[in-house]
């Protein structure tokens, strides 16, 4: 670097002359404009804006000028360098954009390619529909009660007022557990979820508001509409002043939550040993709402053009059951119901063959996914 020389005429320092600075700037701008890609621009930046570029070298000469001339020369060189810097930035942006446009296009993929890398999973629809049924009651304040599947006959029959040798008991097609040395164990695979009623009453403080979804067993051979292993949802309320009106209200609320609002329900007198009075409950067909009845031209598959769909059995808890469970019948009364889970799947989700429910074919289960 030259030493400062106050007497030196700036015009005499060739690189700092206006013409020379302008030329260097124009050269630089031309090189920047000519840079066809980021590599060339990088070279141009090095050549025209780098530490060893002509303008950088010229800038070093400013110190050699007399003080009076320094400001003007500095302004001149600075202006040129600023112009070059801006041109570089602009060109950099342009070239980056060009590169991005090119590269990102090159990187484009077929986003419609399949992406599944895991086997299709799903929960069994019996599980999900039973949960949904139970949850409607949970939302009303019910608890979910449970009991064992291998059950004492006392819970499954006697405490539910199934008298020994009564046809109601022998008609249940019961799986009996073999006792010691082939004798009577007085244990069965529960034929219904109703023993959970007795368990709930024995185990819980009154009042009792529970539902009990569960697996049940009868000695039916598997066919399109029967399976020896099936599922029920039991409901039980024992409180003071309970009437059939409360039962009906709960069933109506369930139908509303499960199948949609405005569907009528119908009670038909029936018989169950553990309820008295007893009823079969039907709901209006949620598909045709009865329009298919007597209209052969528009049959309804859901209700077989009956207009009504059987939901299950229900009634006022037989006071004998309350007595067997140690409940004071002078003070408490209750209602109970039992609904079939598979039935609901068959009419609501169109499951046509019970084999599908029990075979464990992944296509069947996966189709139902996580929720129903």
């Amino acid at each position: 670097m030259s030493a400062p020389n106050n007497s030196y005429d700036p015009v005499e320092v060739t690189p700092l002359s206006p013409d020379e600075v302008a030329r260097m700037r124009d050269d630089a701008l031309a090189a920047i404009a000519a840079a066809a890609d980021l590599e060339q621009l990088k070279a141009a930046r090095l050549a025209h804006a780098g530490d060893r570029s002509p303008l950088a070298l010229a800038n070093r000469e400013i110190g050699a000028l007399p003080p009076a001339a320094r400001a003007e020369a500095g302004k001149r060189v600075g202006g040129a360098r600023r112009d070059i810097g801006e041109a570089l930035k602009r060109r950099q942006a342009e070239l980056e954009e060009e590169r991005d446009a090119r590269v990102l296009v090159e990187e484009a993929v077929d986003v419609t390619l399949p992406t599944r890398r895991s086997t299709p999973g799903g929960r069994h629809p019996v599980t999900t529909v039973a949960e949904r049924m139970a949850d409607i009651f949970v939302a009303m304040g019910f608890d979910v009660a449970e009991g064992p599947e291998v059950e004492a006959e006392w819970f499954n029959f006697d405490a539910l007022n199934f008298l020994p040798d009564h046809p109601a008991r022998t008609m249940q097609d019961t799986f009996f557990v073999e006792g010691p040395s082939g004798g009577d164990s007085r244990m069965v695979l529960r034929t219904h979820t109703s023993p959970v009623q007795v368990r709930a009453l024995v185990e819980r403080e009154l009042p009792v508001y529970v539902v009990a979804p569960g697996t049940t067993y009868r000695t039916d051979e598997l066919d399109a509409t029967h399976t020896p292993v099936f599922h029920q949802l039991e409901g039980l309320v024992v409180d003071e002043g309970i009437t059939m009106g409360h039962l009906r209200g709960a069933i109506d609320a369930f139908v509303d939550g499960m199948f949609g609002s405005g569907l009528r329900t119908r009670f038909r007198p029936s018989y169950f040993p553990f309820t008295e009075p007893s009823a079969e409950v039907d709901m209006e067909c949620f598909v045709c709402r009865g329009a298919s009845v007597g209209d052969p031209a528009n049959p309804c598959r859901t209700c077989s053009s009956e207009g009504w769909i059987e939901l299950g059995g229900c009634g006022i808890v037989n006071p004998r059951v309350l007595t067997a469970a140690g409940v004071d019948t002078a003070r408490y009364s209750g209602w109970a119901f039992g609904l079939g889970v598979e039935r609901s799947l068959m009419f609501a989700n169109g499951v046509a063959d019970m084999h599908d429910m029990v075979e464990g074919d992944v296509r069947f289960t996966a189709a139902f996914g996580m929720e129903i």
Partner: protein
């Protein structure tokens, strides 16, 4: 119970124009489950009339003899001229009255009758058999009507009841009375509020006595016993057409007049009857329990050994009937029986029920006795039967009859007059309650606010106030029950165990597992194919006394058999990459349990001891979760090769389940069937008392198990006690989340192959102390560099303090302490 509507209408006058469908709807509303309304004969149309055979011309030269008949059908054919009809039957003669289907009629099965040329003649119609008219099965020939029963040209529809509506009713076990036309007619009368004419309301002349000698040894098994006889009966007298028709409509086959009459009265009144050839009965009759060793050959030609619980009817020769179930062959009424003895009895329901099951004989009689027969009906029913015998078969009703009656009058049930209303949630007026109870046959006496109600003899099911409430409510109509919105109350929501089950199910389903619900029935062969050792407790399973399949009489003690069968089924259906799971109970007999559950009383609640005994008798039924995987766990695709499911996926599935339960599994190598002995993990949770509890196993299945099931190679499985894992879960305490920088240190440790990685990791954690945030094993290397029988485990250690940035020396010290602990406990050497 099949009820012809015309029969029912004999006992009550239904409103004019009532259709069978309307009647069915009314009966359903009252609680009689009418399953079908069958319009019998609806497919019979056109001109069908009575004709008289004027002349028969026998045609010969055909394969069988053929008759060409001139039949007078009165004015029915419009011409008054005889019809010429070809007929192949031979059971009639000139002058007989027959049934003629004229051209234009159509018989069941779409069989159109026309005038057509056959056997060289023109046949103008058909002479009908009972089968052709679907009246009843009869292949003996055409129907020959009794002389005087009709005239040529009479309408055959009305005469024979060709068209009839039949209600088929599934009678619930409480309503035995509805297993009769009488009982259903009574309900119909109640439904319409019409008068009921009781067919059992029969004036019985004379007083009992002078009948066949009989005694009842034990009134507890038979509290009413009636015998009535007919002498000089014509055993060859035919059953009248109307009776045959009605029996056929109710589903009973005609056998002989005497038997048909007992069946007819059974259907009419609901009282089972038995008819003996009186001359075959030896000496006085005794009603008693069978004696040990007694035998009887019953009507179905089966020689039965009788049980001391069977009620028998015995004469001097021994038992002649299994009471209420089936008669004996020796005293059967036959073609030579001219003296008939009719029995009508009221037997104890439970004895008949047990006998019916013991002998596997369910008859029309036993079905009714089991459900309860009207205990006051026997004299009327026997009288009705002997009168029909005398009337239709000649002979005379014997003057005396036997009547042993030890029935007690029924006690009154006291019921608050407003009780039915309080049950229904409807305010019924007191008079209405009394009226409705009277309508079903109760005697009702008001006593202040209490009604004293004596139910009728045909309603043994009415014993409690709620039974009476149901009668009132059903007659008032279930439709009137209001719908009262449920009262909101504070529930507890799902239990932690219930939530866990759902969470685990969702997690597994979301990660590619499909849920299976297998039957819990297994057989010894399932344990064999799983290579379960002979002394393994899993082979101690509950056995069903009546399995559906004799090869699978046991209840599962593991979920794997069902899952593996489902896996095989899916493989068989063309799926290779599979992940299945099941959540369900297993049934584990309690060691030392009696195997016999107690039977506490039901007239009070069970005591704590009784409940404990009930629970102790039942098997343990823990809920398990099990999963199996075969083929790829990560599927192959355009992105490249997939990743096969390995033992590690099974162990990780178990760990995931534990994480969902907020607990952690300790994993140890184990040898346990059906797993590969070198690739099986035993899984433990902390038992809360400083120890561990085994909760399951995971890993790759034993190659022999894979081969025995025909499973894909290297199938892996996990089974875990979900209840136990859930119980081990603890509530989460919030972690201290430090914002200070992390310090990362990698160490590679060389250990002997036999050292479990879990031990090394545990030593590192414990040695490093609380500055250690996490340890991750990121590489396992075996090879020449580390030497034979050794492997290098590379761990990434993350250090962080809660309150400061760690200094280099602190980090180094913690790392060195970790390595030192690993060296001390596992012999690990820091790899250079």
């Amino acid at each position: 119970m099949r009820v012809p509507v015309s029969w029912l209408k004999e006992y009550t006058d239904l409103p004019e124009g009532t259709t069978a469908r309307e009647l069915a709807a009314r009966l359903i509303a009252l609680g009689l489950e009418v399953e079908t309304v069958e319009a019998v004969g609806a497919d019979i149309t056109g001109p069908i009339y009575v004709g008289r055979v004027l002349e028969i011309e026998e045609l010969t030269g055909f394969k069988k003899p053929i008759r060409y008949c001139r039949v007078d059908v009165g004015a029915a054919n419009g011409t008054g001229q005889p019809q010429n009809i070809i007929c192949g039957a031979r059971n009639f003669a000139e002058g007989d009255l027959v049934v003629v289907a004229l051209p234009g009629s159509e018989l069941p099965g779409g069989f159109a009758i026309g005038a057509r040329k056959t056997y060289g003649r023109v046949s103008e119609g058909m002479i009908c058999s009972a089968s052709e008219l679907a009246l009843w099965e009869d292949h003996a020939g055409i129907i020959v009507l009794p002389e005087g029963s009709a005239a040529p040209g009479d309408d055959a529809y009305a005469l024979l009841g060709l068209r009839e509506d039949v209600l088929d009713i599934a009678v619930t076990p409480d309503r035995g009375y509805a297993l009769s036309v009488r009982g259903v007619a009574r309900e119909a009368a109640a439904a319409y509020g019409t008068a009921f004419r009781d067919p059992a309301d029969i004036a019985v002349e004379g007083t009992p006595g002078g009948g066949y000698p009989a005694s009842v040894a034990d009134p507890a098994v038979c509290d009413r016993y009636v015998l009535r006889g007919v002498s000089g009966f014509d055993p060859e007298a035919p059953t009248p057409l109307w009776m045959k028709r009605r029996l056929a409509l109710t589903g009973v086959r005609s056998i002989s007049l005497a038997v048909d009459i007992t069946n007819y009265v059974l259907m009419e009144l609901g009282q089972p009857l038995h008819a003996w050839d009186r001359d075959a009965v030896r000496g006085p009759i005794e009603v008693r329990l069978a004696r040990a060793g007694e035998q009887l050959e019953t009507l179905d030609h089966v020689k039965r050994t009788l049980d001391p619980d069977d009620i028998v009817i015995a004469d001097e020769s021994g038992p002649i009937n299994v009471a209420g179930v089936m008669g004996g062959l020796a005293t059967e009424i036959g073609l030579g029986s001219t003296n008939v003895l009719i029995e009508a009895a009221h037997f104890a329901e439970t004895h008949i029920a047990r006998a019916s099951r013991r002998h596997q004989l369910s008859s029309e009689s036993s079905r009714r006795f089991e459900r309860g027969v009207d205990s006051a009906l026997q004299v009327a029913a026997a009288t009705r039967a002997v009168r029909l015998l005398a009337e239709l078969g000649g002979g005379a009703v014997d003057p005396g009859y036997t009547h042993i009656d030890t029935t007690a009058p029924r006690a009154a049930i006291a019921i608050a007059a407003d009780h039915p209303g309080r049950v229904a949630g409807v305010d019924y007026p007191r008079e209405r309650v009394a009226e409705r109870l009277a309508q079903v046959g109760c005697a009702v006496e008001a006593d202040g606010d209490t009604l004293r109600v004596v139910p009728p003899t045909w309603r043994p099911d009415l014993t409690d106030p709620n039974d009476l409430a149901e009668e009132v409510i059903r007659l008032e109509g279930y439709a009137g029950i209001p719908s009262i919105a449920p009262r909101a109350r504070a529930g507890h929501g799902l239990t932690p165990a219930q939530r866990l089950r759902r969470t685990v199910g969702r997690k597994l389903a979301a990660t590619g597992f499909a849920e299976v619900m297998a039957y819990p029935f297994v057989g010894v062969r399932d344990f064999d194919t799983l290579q379960v050792p002979a002394d393994d407790p899993r082979r101690t399973a509950l056995k069903l006394a009546n399995p559906l399949n004799d090869d699978e009489p046991l209840l599962r003690t593991t979920l794997l058999p069902g899952l593996l069968k489902a896996l095989v089924r899916n493989v068989g259906r063309g799926f290779g990459d599979l992940a299945l799971y099941e959540i369900g109970p297993v049934f584990l007999p309690r060691p030392g349990a009696s195997g016999r559950a107690p039977m506490p009383a039901v007239d009070r609640g069970p005591t704590a001891e009784e409940l404990a005994e009930l629970e102790a008798a039942l098997p343990e039924q823990p809920r398990r979760v099990a999963a199996v995987m075969a083929g790829h766990r990560d599927l192959p695709g355009w992105w490249g090769a997939g990743r096969a499911a390995t033992w590690a996926d099974a162990v990780e599935t178990a760990r995931e389940v534990a994480r969902l339960a907020n607990t952690e599994l300790t994993v140890r190598a184990a040898q346990y069937a059906p797993w590969h002995p070198g690739r099986c993990a035993a899984l433990f949770v902390a038992d809360g008392e400083g120890g561990e509890r085994l909760v399951g196993h995971a890993g790759e299945l034993h190659p022999r198990v894979v081969a025995a099931h025909g499973l894909p190679e290297r199938t892996v499985a996990v089974e875990l006690d979900l209840d136990a894992v859930g119980a081990a879960g603890a509530p989460v305490r919030a972690p201290a989340v430090s914002g200070y920088p992390v310090a990362l240190q990698d160490v590679a440790l060389v250990v002997a192959d036999s050292v479990p990685a879990a031990d090394v990791e545990r030593a590192l954690r414990e040695g490093a102390g609380e500055l250690l945030e996490d340890v991750r094993l990121f590489d396992v290397y075996t090879g020449a560099q580390v030497g034979e029988g050794r492997r290098s485990l590379a761990y990434a250690l993350r250090f962080r303090a809660a309150d400061r940035t760690l200094k280099t020396e602190e980090i180094t010290a913690a790392r060195d302490a970790a390595v030192a602990a690993a060296a001390e406990r596992t012999g690990a050497v820091l790899r250079g």
